[in-house]
Symmetry: C2
């Protein structure tokens, strides 16, 4: 297993160290190459993602990323030039974001139901296409545009993936989230594709919700969701909210996946570089560890993935959530649990 | 006071009847003209918003709208052809949406702080501009676009309005919500305008949050928000979420305002036509009643607006939230409270 690791900025390197500690317990032979992409490299060399590095990354089975972003870098530079560029160049069309309320974890909701959903967020088009511009900048007649690009090809492949996932889950329920009543063109495409693909999945029940209504249900009735399929921007918004109601982005893992396997998929915690707590050794590495589980699942190492998930579940059920311990201590606990092959449930 | 009233579809007419009952207590001389726009008219005549009706609406001091939308009408027809057309034709650039957790109201949050925010949502541009299209429809090469249009003119006027509102509030705090790290063009325009206008408001402290992070804080720390200014789509999403954490859209009022007063402003509950409960007389008219208070404020009738708000606050603090009563009964209670000039706080 050849893995490329991009620790990145802020708490990125801190949580990645623990994720690799845990990975070492299940795949000791993993070959790991580190890439120092991120704010520091940009400051030092002006480089974000050199072609040669991109070429090297392509030679790996998967990529593990910590976080990119730093207050010293103008907004958008690292996001568009590095993180989104990786997602687009490597055709990460399925942005997979499970949200599960683990036993023992405190939700900000008063009366949380069982929550176990997975959001399939489109990852390579929509409002993230980078298509837009400024006209008459800095004049009273300035115009800024952002174009959401949605293709039949791009929508269909994630909708198919979402249905396949729904088919394999117990509840077999899929919710399309969009804003079809306002974004009528893109909404029409998404709705038609979901309708067509649903014909091939009579086992999956399908629902539709406008994105605004979905945010309401995410706090009043999140247990209703099983698989959600949605566009890049709505997925960005909904998955942060889903993470919040299931205990916070400190626990939320994600996979940026090319499910055709033509390119390596990239796994990363949903949280950012959190510059406010960077360097203090107090970041929770759980999301990074769970991202390793998603990575292993993607590479077919399901048994190892289950071991990591079970260890996280055990730790979350038993940890003192007021003081869960230092970053390294959580990593040590999880590594020990994985090595002792703890099982839950 | 000449008011145009559009009861609309579903529970619209039911909640509007109660809102007018309450209005009658404070402005008995209001001249009211009803317009039967909505699903029924569209089915009967194919008309959504005839020019002649639009011309008549313009002759009023303000418009009160119940809700539009019906499952029998394809998604987008009434929304784009009636509701959004009204907002755009009447230049409702300030979409004002207060969200306050009233004493006695149960939030879905476990430990809700004091919540008292107002969202200034841009109302006439952004992704709502209706600019987009379909190419090669129903082929494997279909493309759907949605263009977010943002102008210096359009952004500046709502940002100015939001700063003015923040200046008049106790906490004098304003949060710009956008997604500047991805939507870099529109994000740049919004950020620059907020920065410029802030120079004229040294009394207002300014914060920025990405929309995804804002949904997290809306459930983990909603007390932080005072005034939020944001674009049309982010505002749509955030205000439903803000309504949810403050007790639900059954309580959320809104104003679609042309603050230049060249066109009549339009006030409406944030909730929709709720076809599932329409005709049963069980819809909560509180949001419609609070929309009347916003309407009166806009027309300078502040004393009457405060009377209505105080009555709603009193009713919410004392009502049995399990069975708040029928639509008409809540209306009767609120009307009686307003006529007895109840005061709270
Ligand atoms: C950092 C940012 C570009 C990114 C996104 O918007 O996708 C992040 O919010 C995420 O969800 O992974
Ligand atoms: C019905 C719909 C067009 C509308 C909107 O998106 O603005 C509604 O959600 C709202 O918030 O008033």
């Amino acid at each position: 297993m050849r893995l490329a690791v991009i620790p990145g900025d802020g708490i990125g390197p801190e949580v990645i160290a623990e994720a690799l500690k845990v990975l070492g317990e299940v795949v000791p032979a993993a070959e790991i190459t580190r890439y120092d992409l991120g704010a520091a490299r940009w400051h030092a060399t002006g480089e974000l993602l050199p072609e040669s590095v991109l070429g090297e990354l392509r030679q790996h089975d998967a990529i593990l990323l910590g976080a990119v972003g730093d207050p010293s870098v103008p907004s958008g530079i690292l996001e568009r030039g590095l993180l989104l560029r990786l997602r687009f160049e490597l055709d990460h069309h399925v942005n997979l974001r499970p949200a599960r309320l683990y036993p023992g974890v405190r939700s900000p909701l008063a009366d949380p139901p069982e929550i176990d959903m997975v959001v399939v967020r489109e990852g390579t088009e929509g409002p993230y296409a980078g298509n837009g511009g400024l006209l008459r900048k800095d004049t009273p007649h300035e115009i800024a545009t952002e174009v959401s690009l949605n293709t039949s090809f791009g929508v269909e492949r994630v909708v198919r993936d979402a249905f396949a996932r729904a088919s394999n889950r117990q509840r077999r329920h899929l919710t399309l989230v969009h804003k079809t009543n306002v974004l009528t063109h893109a909404g029409s495409l998404w709705s038609r594709v979901v309708e067509e693909v649903s014909l091939q999945h009579p086992d999956v029940t399908v629902a539709y919700q406008h994105v605004d209504a979905a945010t309401i249900h995410m706090v009043t009735d999140p247990g209703r969701y099983d698989v959600i399929v949605t566009d890049n921007l709505f997925g960005d918004i909904l998955t942060d909210l889903a993470a919040a109601v299931t205990g916070g982005i400190g626990l939320a893992a994600s996979g940026n996946m090319d499910v055709t396997r033509r390119n390596p998929s990239m796994f990363e915690p949903v949280h950012g570089s959190a510059p406010d707590i960077a360097g203090q050794g107090i970041a929770d590495p759980t999301a990074a560890v769970l991202s390793v589980a998603l990575l292993l699942d993607h590479l077919g190492e399901h048994e190892s993935a289950r071991r990591i998930e079970a260890s996280v579940a055990f730790d979350l059920a038993t940890r003192d959530h007021q003081s869960p311990g230092a970053t390294y201590a959580i990593g040590d606990r999880l590594a020990a649990l994985v090595s002792s092959n703890v099982r839950t449930g």
